[in-house]
């Protein structure tokens, strides 16, 4: 069994920037234990001498000319989706 406690669930929630209730945490603990037990099966495989694969078609460091692409949109178009703006800026809560 994977060693995984309710404290771990709350720690992960914090790292993920998500708040969870006690009921949610219990449900998540149950689910995550089952899933981690299942995916933990990979740990018994001997893959010490195998290199990891991150990209499956063999591409690496794809470059393009450093030129702007014209999406035919304006900053006004983008700002339409911003929850809070002021004078053409994105407004956020006070940081300090």
């Amino acid at each position: 069994m994977t060693q995984f406690s309710i404290d771990d669930v709350f720690k992960l929630a914090k790292l993920s920037n998500i708040s969870i209730s006690k009921t949610e945490s219990e449900e998540l603990l149950k689910d995550m234990k089952v899933i981690l037990d299942y995916v933990g099966q990979l740990q018994k495989l001997d893959l010490k001498n195998t290199k990891p694969t991150y990209q499956v078609t063999g591409l690496s460091n794809v470059m393009r000319p450093d030129e702007a692409f014209d999406y035919k949109i304006t900053s006004e178009d983008l700002l339409k989706n911003v929850p809070d703006t002021q004078d053409h800026y994105i407004k956020v809560k006070r940081v300090i």
């Binding site: 299942y38 990979l42 694969t53």
Partner: protein, 473 residues
């Protein structure tokens, strides 16, 4: 009987003036309205679709050519950015989001005269195998309203079988095109990784995400793939395939070799699916196809591998939803930290939270090597095994899913059981090869999907082969 003829013929009828683009769009919108109770569609793009149809009809009246898909209506999964409606990924956190630009796939289809009429339901952020994880509603299976349509592109597959449109677009990360195609009785293609641009598609797991068509037959799939495939400067993972052409008439089944995976012999495939699968093999044999047994010893670990890599990438991709630049934002928050936290806590559904937290765990310091890195190493081994297998056969055949469509609600409280639905589809996703689900058992109880996989970049061969057997099974 479908109200839509083959896509290329339909477009020809429009461009020759035999029928109007407007009549097709109206027909499509009417069917969508008549069948709203299946919850296949989140929103319609009525005004824009009608305007585009009128423009296309005007072009034709002037003798201009509107393209290979003139006037053909389609539905896009709601994780693709489109004009004329919201793009929500079926999530509360993106409710109200209106895309400032369109996905490359949508642009490519529109450039050929196709018309997007609606956005299809999905598991929120494409996290799921049944479309029950949509934050808005559960899509129902066209064959039986008590059953799921499969997922995550459940709305797209249901829309095609409900005859709302001649084709729909889906996205597939671990089986999300193939599974709903199998459960609904449609053709669903997951192309080679990188063949179709993902620019403007809401990311789930970037190392396996692909876009593909869901249609009624292989010919339609080929028509759409030819248009949406190819390199895109806005998606650096895209690839070009030389001489990509669908030529079924020149193709001969005789002498082709199909591999059947030895390790699946004792797996949990139900007898009804197994029987149909074995029948398919018999039909192939009588058509001159050689059936050989191949071995993929590590295949039993592919689902575990996928459910490490997928949540890891999900947790990274979903970190952008913070309530600052777009989407839902909790207006009651008093500090920046609280804003991030409350926005994500309220905006994300259960499954998104579960995957974000799982992903955070497998990537965290102290666990990275044991989980994430180990999974990526296994991926290397899986690629080697599939490479070896394709030295012995041209195609690999499996059922698409171990069972037919299940009841709505049946698996929602058993996460692991739900994840196991993907056991036969995740392999092709992890190694980046093309895979298609074609319907068997049509008109006879519930549809069963047969999955055919080919080696990387052999998408055209896969379609040629599939087109020769689709009418036979």
């Amino acid at each position: 009987m479908s109200q839509w003829i083959d896509i290329d013929k339909l477009a020809l009828d429009v461009s020759s003036g035999k029928i109007s683009a407007l009549s097709l769009v109206e027909k499509s919108l009417k069917t969508i309205k008549e069948k709203t109770d299946f919850n296949a569609v989140i929103s319609t793009i009525e005004d824009r679709a009608i305007k585009r149809a009128k423009n296309i009809d005007a072009m034709i009246a002037k003798g201009e050519n509107p393209g290979k898909l003139a006037g053909v209506p389609f539905i896009a999964k709601d994780n693709m950015l489109t004009f004329g409606s919201e793009t929500t990924a079926a999530s509360n956190i993106l409710k109200g989001f209106v895309a400032p630009y369109q996905a490359t796939v949508i642009e490519k289809l529109e450039a050929e005269g196709a018309i997007c009429v609606a956005k299809a339901n999905l598991d929120a952020f494409a996290h799921g195998s049944s479309t029950e994880n949509s934050d808005f509603m559960v899509t129902k299976n066209p064959h039986n309203k008590k059953l799921v349509p499969g997922g995550s592109s459940g709305g797209s597959a249901a829309a095609v079988i409900l005859d709302m449109v001649p084709f729909a677009l889906g996205s597939d990360t671990g089986g999300s095109i193939r599974l709903p195609a199998a459960f609904c009785g449609a053709v669903g293609l997951k192309p080679t990784y990188g063949l179709v641009s993902r620019n403007g598609v809401i990311a789930m797991a970037s190392s396996t995400d692909v876009i593909g068509p869901i249609t009624k037959n292989i010919r339609d799939t080929a028509v759409i793939l030819e248009i949406i495939a190819g390199k895109d400067p806005l998606d650096s993972t895209t690839i070009e395939i030389d001489s990509y052409k669908f030529k079924p008439t020149d193709y001969n089944l005789n002498g082709k070799t199909v591999g059947v995976i030895k390790e699946l012999k004792n797996s949990s495939i139900t007898s009804v699916v197994r029987e149909k699968f074995n029948q398919t093999l018999e039909i192939l044999k009588t058509n001159g196809v050689n059936i050989v047994e191949i071995s993929l010893p590590l295949i039993e670990h592919s689902l575990a591998c996928y459910y490490i890599i997928c949540p890891a990438e999900v947790s990274s991709n979903l970190s952008r939803y913070d309530g600052i630049r777009y989407g839902f934002s909790d207006s009651k928050a008093t500090s920046l930290d609280e804003l991030y936290n409350q926005t994500r806590s309220i905006g994300f559904g259960k499954e998104a939270k579960r995957r974000i937290m799982l992903g955070t765990y497998v990537l965290s310091s102290g666990y990275y090597d044991a989980y994430y890195n180990q999974a990526q190493k296994l991926r290397t081994k899986l690629i080697e095994e599939y490479d070896d297998a394709f030295k012995k056969c041209d195609f690999i055949l499996t059922p698409t899913s171990p069972d037919v469509a299940f009841e709505i609600g049946q698996n929602v409280h058993d996460t692991m059981k739900m994840y196991l639905t993907d056991v036969l589809t995740v392999g092709a996703s992890l190694v980046g090869i093309p895979a298609i689900s074609i319907p068997a058992n049509v008109g006879n109880n519930l549809p069963i999907g047969i999955q055919i996989m080919a080696d990387q970049k052999k998408d055209a061969e896969l379609l040629n082969f599939s087109s020769k057997i689709e009418a036979k099974i």
